[in-house]
């Protein structure tokens, strides 16, 4: 019930909310838990496996019972009612076991900020505030973060918040280099003073939250020094039926009274092992509750305390314990042995656990303190100071983990419905390590991550094993301290901001032409250009036919390009490519393959020699950054004496392959200064020209097997050149084509795509490209590995072609290849790496990696597709124009 006065709530305003369909009211400053308790409602949720009623057990994030599902304004599962600040229009339900994720997209914004400070203080309680103020006064750059709605920490649970708290907050605000954040939970501490904190910026405003503000913000804080002032959690005591609504930690009842003006019960029993619970008993007594008994496990209590009980008329039982409870939705009796004591609120205090989570998360070792019955920070850490209650400055307590009783009804972890019996089973099964017990029982793995159950488990396991608690130790504390939504961690890095999107200079043209795009690395590339009524298959057949019989045009600008320049440029390339580049004459192009030291192909592409000391190296679209790094690594770490520079120029050059029998007509028309005749401009030659004063480079390179020219121009002029090529090609039906057609054309020619037809276990020889491996060079990266026995094994997988005999099935890429169906295990001979329908062949075909494949050409093998076997003929990988007459034409 609500007290008539007091609390840090605004009684002048009323907020209306619903819970489990019923309407309630509260005040600004309330949490959902305090407002429900004010209405006399203790039973909040039902437990996950046993379905037992559960209620509020604590006043903040350590609560293990009062989990709710927010329904309005936006669905959010599994929040402790104690941490949900009340707002008008809130609609929530008690959690019945599991939560429910929203089935609509979250429209709220989440963001992140980086901040660097000299001193980060976590916790704005008395210790933290003092530390922050001291540091600020010394002129340090300070951040102070605290998870509550206002500063004060444990002082918020005192009869009145001391005036100095407000003064300290006001003084901190006068320092320009102090960042003070409330509603901000430091949830993870990592190496070198890095701390992640979650700021809840608008949750407490409900529907009134301004739309321009991010809902939550992740602070990435880097601090030279961290002060951990995170306080302490009160520790429960385990007894039978200790999970009923109306059983809560003593300090929590005090916080509800003083902070929220809520008397959590009228008839109170207190069960304690230490002095701190007496404050709660006397405060609730003064506020009008009937304290029926204080049950203290200690044989004696301080004389002053006993006198105060007598004066207040409170029955004090020493050397006694609560052994059980009665009640269903709310406690009705606390049992002391066989004596029931009537009550509607049972307050429990087994002592205090310093909140050592942040200290422990990153290699902070803990020490068990016998006088506190708790773990405290052990060896000091560089750059981390723990102060106040978190350092162990808490009330000493007699150690009592559990009272004797029926283990299967003694709850240790309420959220997991895990009992002492479960721990007994774990220990009985032979488990000795606390980490194993945790995994066996699931204790500490729920929403609260064992904030109240962890130390209890250590104590109970130690008792069962008959060893000191310091030997049992505690499980590792891991971030996050409290749950953090994935949406907050993702921040703005979602949707199209998840990864940078790269566009070629022609992107707008592609969009206008109705291209269907595909992602190639970060690039958006046109996959095909459907005409009205066309699906991908018909569009690609049309585009392929145009390139093979007329002329096609591709935006190949995403091709990786590296400018390699310097007197030793040829030396570097000779050492990295399997073939010779130093013998290439300026003005010519050579195809090359790069291998790792293990001899496996890592990339391929053409290399242009522009001058003696100047090469333009092409990589695969996906390999551009990796191959630049590869060149830098070898240059910097092995051959720093080489005078060469490698520069990425991928974006600088737009690249347009003009492909097909009519490509000569188109290129010749657009660039009249260039003699494009077969003899004047042969295959693998380069020509430099200008068009309206703009330098253009042409090269006879073919990734399709057709007569083809690649046009290179500064990206600024990409659109203009593209338009001129289209205009010149109109009379030949010039057809823009996308990556899908590009893949079909190259596959028909048996040109592998590194990373699709290879997987890091494929050598140039496996690809049938022994011709690209120099026999003249003494050495190059990968050469020695070619002589390893495994690389000479004739059973290695080779790149081959496959033709389905039914002339109809497009084999799914990744399909396995077998000789025949036998009893399992069926021997796998290889797999399909590329598979398309071919306009040129009039049937589907595939590329595959096949064991001993070159020896199997002509054989018929089987490929399982959708439960049936498709017979396929093994062929060489080149299915179109094996002589290369078209390409050289």
């Amino acid at each position: 019930m609500r007290t008539t006065t007091g609390g840090r709530i605004d009684r002048s305003r009323t907020l209306t909310f619903t819970f489990d369909g019923e309407t309630y009211t509260g005040h600004p400053g309330d949490t959902l838990a305090s407002a429900l308790l004010a209405a006399g409602r203790h039973s909040i949720a039902t437990s996950i496996t046993l379905g037992r009623p559960r209620g509020v057990t604590a006043a903040w994030a350590e609560d293990s019972g009062g989990l709710v599902q927010i329904e309005e304004p936006f669905p959010e599962p599994m929040l402790p009612a104690t941490t949900v600040e009340l707002y008008d229009g809130l609609s929530a339900r008690g959690l019945a076991g599991r939560g429910r994720l929203a089935d609509v997209p979250d429209s709220a914004r989440y963001d992140a900020r980086h901040h660097h400070v000299d001193v980060l203080v976590v916790g704005a309680g008395p210790a933290g505030l003092t530390a922050a103020l001291d540091a600020a006064r010394e002129g340090k750059r300070v951040a102070l973060v605290d998870e509550q709605s206002e500063a004060g920490g444990s002082l918020l649970g005192e009869p009145s918040r001391p005036a100095w708290v407000g003064a300290a907050v006001a003084e901190l605000a006068t320092f320009p280099d102090v960042l003070h954040l409330q509603r901000t939970t430091a949830f993870g501490r990592y190496d070198d003073g890095f701390v992640l904190a979650l700021e809840r910026r608008t949750d407490h405003l409900g529907a009134a939250a301004p739309k321009h503000l991010s809902r939550q913000r992740v602070w990435r804080l880097r601090a030279r020094a961290i002060v951990v002032a995170t306080g302490a959690h009160e520790r429960p005591i385990v007894f039978a039926d200790n999970d009923r609504p109306g059983i809560m930690l003593a300090g929590a009842a005090r916080t509800f009274l003083h902070r929220y003006g809520v008397l959590a019960g009228r008839e109170v029993v207190v069960f304690t092992t230490n002095d701190s619970a007496y404050d709660a008993a006397f405060d609730l007594h003064r506020a009008g509750a009937k304290v029926r008994a204080i049950v203290d496990a200690r044989t004696a209590v301080p004389a002053r305390t006993a006198e105060a009980c007598e004066k207040a008329g409170i029955w004090l039982l020493t050397d006694s314990v609560v052994t059980g409870t009665r009640g269903v939705d709310r406690i009705t009796h606390a049992m002391v042995g066989t004596d029931p004591i009537q009550c509607d609120l049972l307050l429990v205090s087994g002592g205090w656990n310093p909140a050592v989570h942040l200290f422990s998360q990153s290699r902070g070792t803990l020490r068990f303190d016998e006088t506190l019955g708790a773990f405290v920070p052990g060896e000091p850490l560089d750059g981390v100071t723990v102060i106040g209650s978190a350092a162990g400055e808490v009330v000493p307590a007699m150690t009592l983990w559990r009272v004797p009783g029926p283990a299967e009804r003694q709850f240790v972890d309420l959220q997991r419905d895990a009992t002492v019996a479960d721990i007994e089973h774990a220990v009985g099964a032979g488990l000795r390590s606390i980490e194993h017990v945790k995994r066996f029982t699931t204790i500490g793995t729920a929403h609260d991550q064992g904030k109240t159950s962890g130390v209890l488990t250590s104590g109970i396991v130690a008792e069962l094993l008959g060893v000191p608690v310091r030997d049992t130790g505690t499980t590792t504390f891991r971030p996050p301290y409290t749950p953090v939504a994935f949406a907050a961690l993702a921040g703005r890095d979602r949707g199209h901001l998840f990864d940078p999107e790269r566009y070629t200079a022609l992107h707008d043209w592609h969009v206008g032409a109705g291209a269907v795009f595909e992602d190639v690395g970060q690039w958006k590339r046109p996959r095909y250009y459907p005409r009205p009524g066309e699906d991908m298959e018909t569009a690609v057949l049309r585009e392929c036919a145009a390139a093979r019989t007329g002329v096609g045009l591709l935006d190949g600008s995403t091709l990786g390009k590296i400018d390699v320049r310097g007197p030793d440029a040829a030396v570097l390339l000779d050492r990295l490519y399997t073939n010779l580049m130093s013998t290439l004459k300026p003005g010519l192009v050579r195809y090359g393959v790069l291998c790792g030291v293990d001899g496996m192909v890592i990339d391929d592409g053409t290399v242009m020699r522009l001058a003696d000391d100047h090469f333009l190296v092409m990589t695969t679209t996906g390999g551009a950054a990796r191959i630049l790094d590869w060149m830098e690594e070898w240059h910097q770490t092995e051959w720093p004496e080489l005078r060469v520079h490698c520069t990425s120029v991928t974006e600088h050059w737009a690249t347009f392959p003009v492909v097909g029998p009519r490509s000569r007509d188109v290129v010749g028309a657009v660039f009249p200064d260039v003699d494009v005749s077969r003899d004047a401009f042969p295959f693998m030659a380069i020509r430099e020209t200008t068009l309206d004063g703009v330098p253009v480079r042409l090269a006879r390179i073919s990734f399709s097997g057709e007569l083809a020219y690649e046009v290179y121009v500064n990206s600024w002029y990409a659109v203009a050149i593209w338009q001129r090529l289209l205009a010149a090609g109109q009379q030949y039906g010039i057809t823009p084509y996308g990556t899908e057609t590009m893949h079909v054309l190259r596959a028909e020619k048996g040109y592998p795509i590194i990373g699709q037809d290879t997987d890091g276990t494929v050598t140039p020889q496996d690809l049938g490209m022994s011709w690209v491996v120099s026999k003249k060079k003494v050495d190059f990266v990968g050469k020695r590995s070619f002589a390893r026995p495994a690389n000479l094994d004739p059973r290695r997988k080779h790149l081959v072609g496959l033709l389905p005999l039914d002339r109809e099935t497009v084999l799914p890429e990744g399909s396995q290849i077998i000789a025949e169906l036998t009893a399992p295990p069926v021997a796998m001979l290889g797999h399909v790496t590329s598979s398309y329908r071919s306009a040129e062949l009039g049937r589907p075909f595939a590329l595959a990696l096949l064991k001993g494949g070159r020896e199997r050409v002509g054989e018929v093998l089987q490929v399982p597709v959708n439960g049936a076997l498709v017979p396929v003929e093994v062929t060489g990988p080149v299915l179109v124009d094996p002589e290369g007459a078209r390409r050289d034409g």
Binding site: Y190, V597, E633, E638, R784, S785
Partner: protein
């Protein structure tokens, strides 16, 4: 996330770096002179000590320079240069 002290740029966030494995494994002067086992040791075998380890690091999204550093594999801590 650690701060790694790039010799050219100073301390930077760990995500800017990529790891290059054990330092001091030179490319053999004459690979053809090595037998298969010796070559396999160069290609595939690296130390994996508990404690001090000389490593190669690459400031991949910074100055793009490679450098060597000694790090403790237990504490992750880099030794000052």
């Amino acid at each position: 996330m650690q701060l790694i002290d790039c010799p050219h740029c100073g301390p930077r966030e760990e995500v800017e770096f990529s790891y290059g494995g054990q330092a001091g494994v030179a490319y053999p002067a004459d690979p053809a002179a090595l037998d298969d086992e010796q070559w396999a040791h160069y290609v595939f075998f690296r130390d994996n000590p508990k404690g001090r380890f000389a490593e190669r690091w690459y400031h991949a999204v910074g100055c793009r320079r490679w450098f060597n550093a000694v790090r403790d594999t237990v504490t992750y801590r880099f030794e000052g240069r």
